[in-house]
Amino acid sequence: MHEPPEIQLAGLRKSFGPKLVLDGLDLSIARGDSVVVLGKSGAGKSVLLKHLVGLLEPDTGTVAVQGEDLWTAPRSRRDEIRRRFGMSFQEGALFDSMTVGENVAFPLRRHTRMTPAEVRGRVAECLALVRLHGIEERRPAELSGGMRRRVGFARAIALKPEILLLDEPTTGLDPITTDVLTRVIVRMRDTLMPTMVTITHDLKVAFAVAERVALLDGGRIVADLPPREFAASSDPRVAAFVRGDASEELEAAGSEKGSE
């Protein structure tokens, strides 16, 4: 137990203009854990994830990766720390000036000394892991939403990251494609065994992928439990989220101004 947690967030606070998004958030993630952060749209889930890899700098509070503070480290060190991460973005965020193969090869060409043949092999391997074959020459614009996200996964795992971050991997997809992606995520988890943080508001995905489920509400983590306990929790915020029940919230809004 003396090993520092893989990721440690302490007192994280972030606002955009007058809007306070994260309000003293604490979260600690052990090595190899798979944590799913649930929350309503606009609760700050993506903001939280972007803090983990240093895409956003907190106003106050610390982000530590394997015990090392991301923002007191010098810039070059921060880039080294980032290489331990793989991140997939909501819509895939593939480079649309490149082919699928070049997208997945991008981190390999930039950060390794692999030969072109080795790069090709690794690209095919990563695509196979997300159950895509022979699409290296296609352009991102030609792919469906689900495929684009899987290519995004393949690019994220190309460097065999120790920490894998998935931002809304299934949002806006049909149930069948969602199931495909969920299975691919579980496969990546079981094959690569990374520390994994997934952001979603889809409970089905959450329970399939998570070893721990956390609920983000009001800028803080208000619950952090194993999936079964989370589903059975009597905490009113958790129960409302699990049931998909907005009555309490509407009442609160109604008593204030009657707006929305």
Binding site: L55, F85, M87, E91, A93, F95, D96, P107, R110
Partner: protein, 255 residues
């Protein structure tokens, strides 16, 4: 009072824009000095800005030279100075018109394209993806474009000089019946090597300004497709203004 507020915020916006450009310029220079050096990316941009921009630039130059000859000829005829038309065309092209008009065309063509491309990358999270892949986005996106701009603009201007002079020659000799030998002599009679150099130095500075502003506008894009449109417009407007304002001061410094 509201006038003062508006004026104050305008001044702040101008200062902020300049500060941002200087900051990104510094990051670009740092990116250029650091590994990896991406020669292929620079070559790609040279082709896009230079080779693909060539027809527009040369057409502009030919017609500018032509109209210049036409206008000065009619004017100079009034006091029997037709003999100096060639000198006027070549001097104005080399020192002023070729660099400025070429730069304006490139700002409209390439500065806007850079803002649109990088702006779309911003709003589709591709720039975040670059950072997450431990890649410095300024080094990856700015360096090839800015370096290409500085290399390509003087080349384009050198060609524009030639084509402008040819345009003037064709109009004067073929259309207005000037003596070809006399016109040719008058073209080069008063030209100094410094005229050429000052134009080419200007062109290099314009290349830097156009690409830096194009990249900056794209990079700082906010708010979806609408934001990309705004950045693209701003890249052309601010790029053109930067060319015209800096042109005055450069001319002042470069005699």
């Amino acid at each position: 009072m509201s006038f003062l507020v508006a004026f104050g915020s305008l001044v702040l916006a101008v200062l902020e824009f300049h500060g941002r450009c200087v900051e990104l310029m510094a990051l670009t220079v740092r990116g250029l000095l650091r590994r990896p050096f991406d020669g292929r990316a620079i070559a790609t941009q040279v082709v896009r800005v230079g080779v693909e921009g060539l027809p527009v630039v040369l057409l502009t130059a030919v017609f500018t030279g032509a109209v210049l000859a036409l206008q000065t000829y009619t004017g100079f005829q009034r006091f029997h100075a037709e003999a100096w038309v060639g000198s006027v065309v070549s001097l104005s092209m080399l020192r002023e018109l070729a660099p400025v008009l070429t730069a304006l065309m490139v700002a409209g063509r390439s500065g806007s394209a850079m803002a649109a491309e990088i702006g779309s990358m911003r709003v589709t999270e591709q720039i975040d993806a670059l950072v997450a892949l431990a890649t410095d986005p300024v080094q990856y996106l700015f360096v090839p474009r800015v370096v290409a701009g500085i290399i390509v603009l003087p080349m384009l201007v050198a060609l524009a000089n030639g084509f402008g002079i040819i345009g003037g020659y064709l109009v004067a000799v073929r259309l207005l019946g000037a003596n070809p030998v006399a016109y040719g002599e008058s073209t080069f009679q008063f030209l100094d090597l410094n005229d050429l150099w000052s134009g080419l130095i200007k062109a290099g500075v314009f290349g830097l300004l156009i690409t830096l502003i194009g990249c900056q506008q794209g990079f700082d894009t906010k708010g979806g497709a609408e934001g990309v449109g705004r950045s693209t417009t701003a890249a052309v407007v601010l790029g053109s203004l930067a060319i015209l304002v800096s042109d005055f001061f450069l001319t002042k410094v470069l005699f």
